[in-house]
Structure formats: C-alpha cells, structure tokens
C-alpha cells in the first residue's frame, strides 16, 4: 500500500489530496479486502492524449467524421505485421476481416512495428464467449474510458464530474473471484475509483459492503446485470446518478426493476476489451460514442448487411495504440439502421448473454467463474451446456478431460459431466448455455 502511494510509475501525477483519498479508501474499517494495487499510470503526455480525445467527442456523428480512415488503413497496412502480410486492397469492403481467433493465435502480430513498448500494460479479457485473452493496452487508452462514460451520461442529460476527495465510480462485480482495487483517477480531478466484488468472503465483516458503498456514495456505478442484481440486495438505498451496465445482455424487465430499485437511469452500453466503449443505448437503440472506431455490421461473407438485417459488429480503428483493429469481427450481432438525424445506429444487440448455472446443491454459478476455473487448461474454445437435470455436456478439443472434470466438479459438485468433440468449422460458438 505504501509503495503504491509513492509510486511514480503507478501514479505519475497524483496529488497529496489524491493520496489521502486513496489511503482512506484502503484503510476504512469496512473496506473490502482489495487484492490488487494499481494506479492510472497516466503521464502528462498521456493526460493530454485523453484531453484531445475528450475534446473530439460529439453528441452524434456523420460519415464525414470517418474521413481519417483511408490514411489510417494505409498506415496500419504497412506497420502492423498481421495486416501487412495480408496485403493491401483497393477497396475497404475487400479487406478481409479478422477475429478473436487471429488475436489468440499471436497477438504480437497486431502491435505496430514503430510503437514504443515502454508504456505497455496487459489486460485480460474475461472470456465470456471464448478463452481468456491477454490484450496489450496503454494507460492513456484506459483513461479514455472516462470521457466516454461522460459521453454516455450526456445522452441522458447527466454529468460525471469526479470531485477531488470523493468517489466518482464504483465498479461492482458478483463473481466467485476477481481482481478488486481502489485507485484514483488523476484525469478525473483526482477522484476515486473502486472495483468491489459483492461476495461475502471479500468483505471484512457482514454488511461491510453496504456500509462502505453508502459511506463513499459513488457518483456512478458500473457493472453487469448479475452484479446489479446483487447490489440491489446489499445496498438498495444507494442513489447514484446512474448505473452503467455492459458486458452482458440486460433483460428489459430487470432493467426496469433496477431503475426502480436505485431511482436512477440504468444505461446500457456496448464495450469490448479490444476496443473500449463503443456505443450507448437509448430506448434500445445503440448510438456510437466516438468517431475513432468505425462500426460495420457484416454478413458472413464480409459484406455490409442491408439496413434492418442482422449481422456481426465489425470494427475498424481504435484508441489503443497497441491494438489497431482493421475489420475486426467482434462476435457480437446487431441490426443496423439510420436514425432520424441520419446517424448510423444499431439495435437488437445480441451480445454475450450472462448465464447462471446451478450446482448440485442448487447454488448459483456465474459463467465467469467457470471461465476462470478453466483458464489454466489450454483450450482454444469450448462449449458448456447444462441440462435440466443439472448434468453438464462439455464440448471441446485438444484439452485434458481429467483437468476439466476436476475443475468443474470443484465448482458444480457431484453432477454428471459428459464430454464430446467441438467441431472446428464454426468461427463463433456460444460458450455457455443451459436448458430453461
């Protein structure tokens, strides 16, 4: 803890006030048992990058906002090994798409030749739809999430100010195990950010999570539907400006229920670790948050689908200098449309559905916990299906059954587990499913 407070690497720009807040967040009697220490690693140059990015954000975007694309594509086609080996194409629509499988094969091939590696950090994806992946990231790209959160709130006539000496954002999770931390954002007025796991064993005493959150009263709360459902149980008297939900399908009934519970808007947004936040939903329609990522919706032959037809969300651009994306298939599906103001939007986002499984004793098991339990088993991908009788069918290739069985037994208890082959012919598989 002492090290993190004085670390110029973790916090190149932290102030004494920021340090005081950080100490309070950590040393509070009700503070969760934080298991990770990190700062925003934002240098002055990085902060300027975020400032410039924030200044470029607008309420809506037209096609001319994407005029940067030809020059950018030319540049990445020369400097990024993966795109260079594929060769250049005359027309944008002829550029072959890539996917998470390409990243998984060798992500080093996506890092531009001329990018300095000094600032590189590494983030892991949760692997809701595939095996977890390590993504090279940049502190400025991480802090760029903040102006994007502000842009989402603006859509709802709300603001995120981030006051010095107070907690701006709480990210809540409901997982068996996850990284938790308390930090300060030097870009957002040295305000606080915490990531907490609403799990009894992460709390020092019963009821501590509720007391802690109520004491620091975060301006906004981010998380996923599973975590918000739990939050409603442990701290329903919290009144943040908004809940911002991503990472999983937000059921409309639950959406309404959460809005009633917390007395604030529940804002659904679309975000990927590979790209950062991309779009925010208003009445079920997703609006682009920035013009540095171009979103296409493609059919399975890499062609844009017609308006009103569903297809796969595909990205070009990005603010992570270590991972420029050129026609990157996200594995998520949506239907494109043009709104009344002429802006490209999409709806019917069919993202990664959260799946709660049932253990032999009837306990709930989050799919993220399964992903984590299986992280040490080398598998390109797998599918897990739970039958109505709680038995499990596990489809996979090239992995040790014994290790998988042991780990699943540890999670599910004494349920029947059968193994079958997962064919390689599908690019995308639904990793988790269960009988209803």
């Amino acid at each position: 803890m002492k090290d993190i407070l004085t670390s110029k690497i973790e916090y190149p720009r932290i102030t004494d006030q920021g340090r005081r807040l950080l100490r309070r967040l950590h040393e509070d009697d009700d503070a969760p048992r934080y298991n990770y220490y990190c700062g925003d690693r934002l240098t002055d140059a990085g902060a300027q990058t975020v400032d410039r990015f924030a200044a470029g954000l607008r309420p809506s975007y037209t096609d001319t906002d994407f005029d940067w694309m030809p020059a950018w594509i030319e540049q990445v086609s020369e400097q990024v090994p993966f795109y260079r080996y594929r060769g250049k194409r005359q027309n944008f629509v002829d550029i072959p798409t890539c996917s998470r499988l390409d990243l998984a094969r060798d992500i080093s091939q996506f890092v531009p030749d001329n990018t300095e590696l000094e600032a590189l950090i590494v983030h892991g994806t949760s692997g809701r739809t595939a095996r977890p992946l390590a993504i090279p990231h940049h502190p400025a790209a991480c802090s760029s999430y903040l102006p994007l959160l502000q842009a989402m709130l603006q859509k709802y006539q709300l603001t995120l100010q981030g006051q010095t000496d107070s907690l701006a954002i709480a990210l809540v999770c409901r997982q068996r195990q996850t990284i938790t931390c308390a930090t300060v954002s030097t870009w957002l007025n040295h305000s606080g950010f915490i990531k907490v796991n609403l799990n009894d064993k992460d709390q020092p005493t019963p009821g501590a999570a509720s007391r802690y959150l109520n004491k620091y009263r975060p301006e906004i709360i981010t998380g996923d539907p599973i975590a918000f459902t739990e939050l409603a149980k442990v701290a329903a008297d919290l009144r943040p400006k908004a809940l911002l939900s991503t990472s999983a399908y937000l059921n409309p009934a639950l959406h309404r229920q959460l809005q009633r519970d917390f007395g604030c808007p529940v804002i659904n947004y679309y975000s990927l670790m590979e790209s950062g936040p991309l779009a925010v939903a208003v009445d079920g329609v997703f609006y682009p948050l920035s013009a540095d990522v171009y979103m296409e919706i493609l059919d399975d032959r890499d062609r844009p689908v017609a308006m009103g037809e569903p297809g796969e969300i595909t990205l070009t651009g990005g603010r992570n200098p270590y991972l420029p994306l050129l026609r990157y298939r996200t594995g998520d599906y949506a239907t494109p449309a043009i709104d009344a103001q002429g802006e490209r939007v999409f709806y019917d986002l069919e993202g990664r559905a959260p799946v709660v499984f049932c253990g032999a004793d009837g306990s709930a098991i989050n799919n993220i916990d399964i992903t984590r339990a299986l992280a040490a088993v080398p598998m390109a991908r797998f599918q897990l299906h739970q039958n109505r009788d709680r038995s499990i069918i596990f489809r996979h290739r090239d992995a040790g059954q014994m290790h998988i069985r042991e780990r699943l037994k540890a999670l599910f208890g004494n349920v029947k587990i059968s193994f079958t082959d997962l064919s390689d012919d599908k690019d995308k598989v639904i990793t988790y499913s269960r009988d209803r």
Binding site: R41, I107, S108, V122, H137, S185, T222, T246, M273, P277
Partner: protein, 196 residues
C-alpha cells in the same frame, strides 16, 4: 548455320553461363589499392568493347573510390566485365550509363551479401549475374521474352532475398520483444472503470 542462328547460339543462356563458369580466375584478383588489378582500366576496356566509348576521368575516379571502399565490390565489377566480354555483346552500341549504373548500384550491394566466388561456382548465382548484366543493357537470353527473363531474374534476386530474410528476422525480433514485454508486464494494469 545462318547468321541469325549463330547470333541466337551466341546469345543463349548456356553460352553466357559457360563463359562465366570458365572464366580466368585472375579476373577476380583484388583491385587496387588492395591488389594489383586496375579495375577502372577493365571497366573502361569493357565499355569500349560494348561500343560505349571509354571511362572519363570522373568515372574512373569513382570506380577507384568504390574499389577502395569495398574490395569485394571491385572484384564483382571485374567479374561482370568478364560477362560483358562475351563475343555476342561485342560492338553492341549499348548505353554506357546503364552499364555504369549496374556497377554503382546492384553490384556493390550484391558484393556485400554474396561472396564473389559464388558467382562462378554456384549455378543460381552464376545465372543471376549473367541475367543482371544482360538486363542492365536491355538484353535477355535468346529463346526467352523480356517478361520471362525479368521473372526469372526476380526469382534469383539475392538482394531481394536478403531483404526478405532481413525483414523476417526484424519481424521475429519485434514479435519476441512484444511477447517478452507482455510476459514481463502481465501483472501491470490500469483501471478501465467498467466491465467489458
């Protein structure tokens, strides 16, 4: 044999390859100041045989300077002169600048990456040198068209091959550096303020 047939026979690839394979090894003796061979004199004589006049003072100085900087470049230029001494090219009235450009450019670069002896001993390198010399003056072997000759030369191009190898090594080194950085920094992160 008709004159045309004689000409075709002389311009055949085999004829040039034999001419090079059976060269007098004294032609690749070190040039001055590293040895006793006067490279500029050989180049001047070659130009004359090709119907291009002789080296002027400036050009001769440039050849000498090149030899001074790189003995191997001088030796390879001398060997190229041997190729140009093939009977089929005598009095061809070729463009002198094209011959000189070959000496200033590709031959100096080639000499830095391939041992000069290889252009005599190894079949592919022998063919590469012959084709480079012919291509430089706008010629190609009999029974080939210009496109085939250019394609074949491209396939034999040691400079290009060397560039590809160099680029591949650089790419491999860079990928290793990225992987190493990622492995070293696996525990380094910064908050992203929301779930993904």
């Amino acid at each position: 044999m008709s004159d045309q047939k004689k000409q075709n026979h002389h311009m055949s690839l085999e004829s040039f390859l034999d001419h090079l394979r059976l060269c007098d090894l004294a032609i690749i003796d070190p040039p001055t100041p590293h040895g006793d061979v006067h490279c500029a004199a050989i180049v001047s004589d070659t130009l004359y045989r090709l119907g291009c006049g002789r080296l002027n003072r400036q050009e001769a100085d440039r050849v000498c300077k090149l030899c001074e900087q790189s003995m191997q470049a001088g030796r390879l230029i001398q060997l190229a002169c041997w190729v140009y001494h093939h009977d089929a090219l005598c009095d061809g009235r070729y463009e002198r600048q094209k011959v000189l450009d070959l000496a200033w450019g590709p031959l100096a670069e080639l000499a830095a990456i391939v041992a000069v002896e290889n252009f005599i001993e190894h079949a592919d390198r022998r063919e590469e040198l012959v084709r480079r010399c012919l291509a430089a003056i706008g010629e190609h072997p009999a029974d080939e068209d210009a496109i085939y000759a250019a394609t074949r030369l491209k396939a034999l191009d040691s400079i290009e091959l060397n560039r590809v190898v160099r680029d591949t090594q650089a790419a491999k080194k860079r990928a290793e550096a990225v992987r190493r950085a990622m492995a070293e920094r696996a525990a380094r992160a910064a908050p992203t303020y929301g779930r993904e």
